[in-house]
């Protein structure tokens, strides 16, 4: 039975990982927590829904177009809410306040369009589970796990080995110096928002396939946030490790102490992390620059 719990935890963790990575990417470059990420996921999820249910698109085109749509929404969000703040070199809190407001704005628009009903994606899989002995794995969970792994590997490759990736890393390290070195900081920030938005779109479609669609679906972003704190704010591998850890921790806690006390205990774990290892599991480059 315990193996089943681990599998459930991994499935949950991979959802959190997708959310946390998009989140961590923005933090990596601009050093703020983008609370509009949740609303961006919701937008991506609904775009995917209208493609799949309304236009009869298959799984892959749906994912692809939702990712692009998510990316475009990300860039749009940057334009509306962050562009001028970046230009002003304002404090992080401004980003935070702006991102929450952007989230409210997007959520308001979604509610206006679809507020009165629930929506479900059409079925993409015939048999919904894979049984190995006693262990039951839901097919969409497995899909989700594979896709998040693939997306994250791709992201890691881009960031690690491509020119754009190097630019992103250097901007995240020091924006001014990077700009002096001839990197077009503005376009790097735009790319970051596009990628983060695309990840939000992907996460949205998966949330839609696995769960039900409704306008406040994005409130799940808090879990991604906690995951990236545990993993170390701003670190991509940290966000993934933190997310999987959070998924496992939650399922384990639910199994042992029940759901009621699980949030309180999760919080205690987070506080312990802040106390013992404030940089998170793998964060290292986030020391305060005076």
């Amino acid at each position: 039975m315990s193996l089943q719990i681990i599998i459930n935890g991994l499935a949950l963790g991979s959802v959190y990982a997708l959310i946390a990575t998009g989140f961590a990417l923005i933090f990596n470059v601009l050093k703020f927590s983008n609370f509009a990420h949740g609303a961006m996921m919701t937008c991506g999820a609904f775009v995917g829904y209208f493609l799949a249910a309304g236009k009869g698109f298959g799984l892959f085109p749906t994912i692809l177009i939702s990712m692009i749509a998510g990316g475009v929404i990300g860039i749009g969000g940057e334009f509306i809410a962050f562009k001028r703040i970046i230009a002003n070199h304002s404090s992080h809190i401004y980003f935070f306040v702006s991102s929450i407001t952007l989230g409210t704005l997007l959520e308001g628009i979604v509610t206006l369009k679809v507020g009165a009903n629930f929506y479900n994606y059409p079925r993409f899989f015939k048999v919904a589970t894979i049984n190995i002995g006693n262990i039951i794995i839901s097919k969409s969970d497995a899909m989700m796990f594979c896709f998040s792994t693939m997306a994250l590997l791709l992201l890691w490759y881009i960031i690690r080995y491509t020119k754009q990736g190097r630019a992103i890393r250097s901007v995240s390290f020091d924006r001014d110096t990077a700009s002096l070195m001839g990197i077009n900081v503005e376009s790097v920030i735009l790319i970051t928002f596009f990628v983060s938005g695309a990840l939000a779109g992907l996460a949205g479609v998966f949330l839609g396939i696995n769960y039900t669609l409704y306008p406040t679906l994005g409130s799940l972003v808090v879990k991604g946030f906690i995951a990236s704190v545990i993993g170390g704010l701003g670190s991509l591998p940290g966000a993934i490790i933190g997310a999987v850890f959070l998924g496992l921790l939650e399922t384990l806690l639910i199994h042992t102490v029940g759901s009621g006390y699980a949030p309180a205990l999760t919080f205690s774990v987070m506080l312990i992390f802040l106390l013992v290892r404030p940089q998170g599991i793998s964060g290292s480059n986030i020391q305060e620059k005076a």
């Binding site: 039975m1 089943q4 719990i5 459930n8 935890g9 499935a11 949950l12 959802v15 308001g108 509610t111 507020g115 009165a116 009903n117 629930f118 929506y119 479900n120 079925r123 919904a128 589970t129 049984n131 039951i136 839901s138 696995n210 769960y211 039900t212 409704y214 306008p215 406040t216 409130s219 799940l220 808090v222 879990k223 939650e250 399922t251 639910i254 199994h255 029940g258 759901s259 009621g260 699980a262 949030p263």
Partner: protein, 386 residues
């Protein structure tokens, strides 16, 4: 440059303050040819799906009344007040409705928390609030007397929980139950104890009782124990988004038994869920094969592309009750309140409504147990709510 900015800000402020002041005055030019009623709903926020449905239903009823010539030559005008699912907003909205807009009656929310918050304040006024707060605390003070203005037009959680338990035990022969409910949701919590008490009274055992929180998405771990204990039925009074996941995940874990859900499993739940809907038993307010209902369902689908739920018809009935009371006793809100308190045999979409003055709940209102065979809803049995 600085001064320009400063001036702009000053002008902006003056404009804002003026707007605030004006809006507080309310729309003073109210024509005599209109009767104004209020509709306090969550049209945005986490429970917008329900609030919007009630609003649509009430609007449909009012439009029907107005199209048929209104009340003694006057038309009814409904103002919707959004509460965002926030108690504080609801109190502001309520106060505005009764003191500034001077509405004659209020269509209340389907969310118990909002009704609970408005209830004590409503004592100061005499405008009836006809809502759907199924938690008996919405209508009843702690000393057992009723809040004079609070009414509910559907059976209480006690009746609903008991009906579901009775049905499961007597008709389905279930002996062991697992209960999974949302701990952060008043509606869900209030449906647990009545079911539990009725089930235990009838000799069934509750094998496992677990709870989850609003943002939880993984129920497999919670369901594990009750499924391996091979319970006959799983009872889960939750909101639509949750019970969909619970069904899918329980079925994925190989659970073959019955699933018993509350009102939120009504169609179009089956279209959301597909084949997994098979074997779900749920309670509903009406018999959906009634041709009058079917025509409205089709009409709404055609006009607004809305898949309407039972909340729509509850809203519709409230609208009709209010309209009828206006025709019977005029538009004095106190008279309307008294009329509604003694409402008898109102023929509504959700059944024949007679309000019990002692509890402000309808007495003897029928509830219907349903199941899904494949994806088609099948009506099983009528129950009287006592």
């Amino acid at each position: 440059m600085k001064i320009i900015v400063k001036k702009c800000v000053t002008v902006f402020f003056c404009a804002l303050v003026a707007t605030l002041g004006l809006s507080a005055q309310g729309n003073a030019e109210k024509s005599d040819s209109e009767i104004v009623i209020g509709c306090i709903q969550d049209t945005t926020g986490p429970t917008s799906t329900m609030g919007k449905m009630v609003e649509e239903g009430a609007l449909y009823a009012i439009d029907e009344v107005n199209a048929a010539g209104g009340i003694n030559g006057k038309t009814i005008k409904m103002i919707t007040y959004d509460t965002k699912g926030d108690v504080n907003e609801a109190i502001n909205a309520y106060t505005r409705a009764v003191s500034t807009d001077k509405v004659k009656a209020i269509i209340g929310p389907p969310i118990a928390n909002i009704a609970l918050a408005i209830a004590p304040i409503s004592e100061k006024y005499s405008v009836p609030i006809i809502g759907l707060g199924v938690d008996p605390k919405c209508q009843q003070k702690t000393d057992g007397t009723t809040y004079k203005n609070m009414f509910c037009l559907q059976p209480s959680t006690i009746s609903q929980g008991t009906i579901m338990a009775d049905y499961a035990i007597k008709e389905r022969g279930c002996k062991t139950f697992g209960i999974i409910y949302n701990e952060s949701n008043a509606y869900s919590v209030s449906l647990v104890d009545p079911f539990l008490n009725a089930a235990e009274k009838a000799g069934a055992t509750i094998v496992d009782k677990v709870s989850y929180n609003a943002n939880d998405k993984d129920f497999k771990t919670l369901l594990n124990d009750m499924i391996s204990a091979k319970v006959d039925a799983i009872y889960s009074p939750g909101y639509t988004q949750e019970i969909i996941l619970i069904t899918q995940q329980a079925r994925a874990l190989g659970y073959k038994g019955d699933l018993i859900f509350g009102l939120d499993a009504c169609p179009p739940f089956n279209t959301l869920l597909g084949e997994d809907a098979d074997g779900i038993y749920f309670i509903n307010n009406y018999d959906a094969s009634d041709p009058k209902l079917v025509s409205i369902i089709n009409d709404m689908k055609q006009k607004k592309n809305l898949d309407i739920t039972n909340k729509f018809f509850l809203g519709y009935d409230i609208g009709k009750v209010i309209a009828q009371s206006f025709t019977e006793v005029g538009t004095d809100s106190k008279a309307v309140r008294d009329y509604i308190e003694h409402l008898t045999n109102f023929k509504g979409m959700t059944g024949d409504i007679t309000i019990d003055p002692a509890t402000h709940f309808p007495t003897g209102l029928k509830m219907v147990m349903y199941t899904y065979k494949g994806t088609t809803p099948v009506m099983l049995e009528h129950y009287s709510a006592d």
